[in-house]
């Protein structure tokens, strides 16, 4: 299976958790320790299991997520 890498543009994130809810590999989680400039707990990457499926990024209303495939 493809390996991927997601990058979250934290200051666009509103901590809505839609990305977290659709990730099949439980790669994402809202930060419990950090808040962004708008006061939200941003989503962050918690493991290396990303398969570059793009589900999280397609659900993100704020277009905060970029997905790369590791060739």
């Amino acid at each position: 299976m493809a390996k991927g890498k997601v990058t979250i543009d934290e200051n666009y994130c509103k901590g809505c958790e839609l990305c977290v809810s659709v990730c099949p590999k439980k790669v994402l989680k809202l930060s419990e320790t950090r808040i962004n400039e708008a006061g939200y707990n941003p989503a962050e990457v918690v493991n290396d299991d990303c398969i570059a499926c793009t589900s999280c990024a397609r659900m993100c209303p704020d277009s905060a997520i970029t997905v790369e495939k590791i060739d």
Partner: protein, 249 residues
Amino acid sequence: MSVVYEKSKGLTDVKLHYCPGCAHGIVHKLLAECLEEMSETENAIACVPVGCAVMANKYFNFDAIQCAHGRAPATATGIKRVDPSKIVITYQGDGDLASIGTCEIVHAAARGEKITTIFINNGIYGMTGGQMAPTTLPGMKATTAKHGRDVKVQGNPIRVSEMLATLDGPVYIERVSVTTPGQVAQAKKAIMKALKVQKEGLGFGFVEVVSSCPTNWGLTAVKAMEYVKEKMIPYYPLGVFKDLTGEGK
């Protein structure tokens, strides 16, 4: 490494003012992605509503005009008839389209205007704080239906896609939703098809998106998507209601 998904160039860098997890943002992206993929961002004009999406013109990286409440289809009609080479889109909420603007959408559809309408059905007046909309479900609470909509008092919801599909004017009508990545992909296909119907000069295209309003529904964004799946979609079934393109589904 290769980028497989990034923010559409059809959107500006302005941060959306929408509440966390509001589906308006998802649909904005889909419209922007479709126009980008069709190479039409330079040629598109969006007619944006009164409602939470009133400032969509700041987010769309293409031309846009803010319309009087509910009148986007009339504005779009004027623009398209003056310059048929433009891709003209109306983006409207359910208060905007199905309440104050019912006249405009019905007649634009009946006339078969060569425009594309994206209709955001979140069952409520979002911007003004959660009043009942024509699309509010029976039993669903709103600030103006404190104990839930009672159809004997407040009347029945309107299924706009089905209603417009009875008219001879429209060429393409589909209802979609955005509660899962699969549904988001289907919604994008529908918007793309409605835009192509316009580009090819075939006529009026209409995409209803069964959407969410986490704030006024009093739910988290994730729970609001579940509400759409469990309550809204059974009342507003997804699918194609009219397709005169001859392409089938």
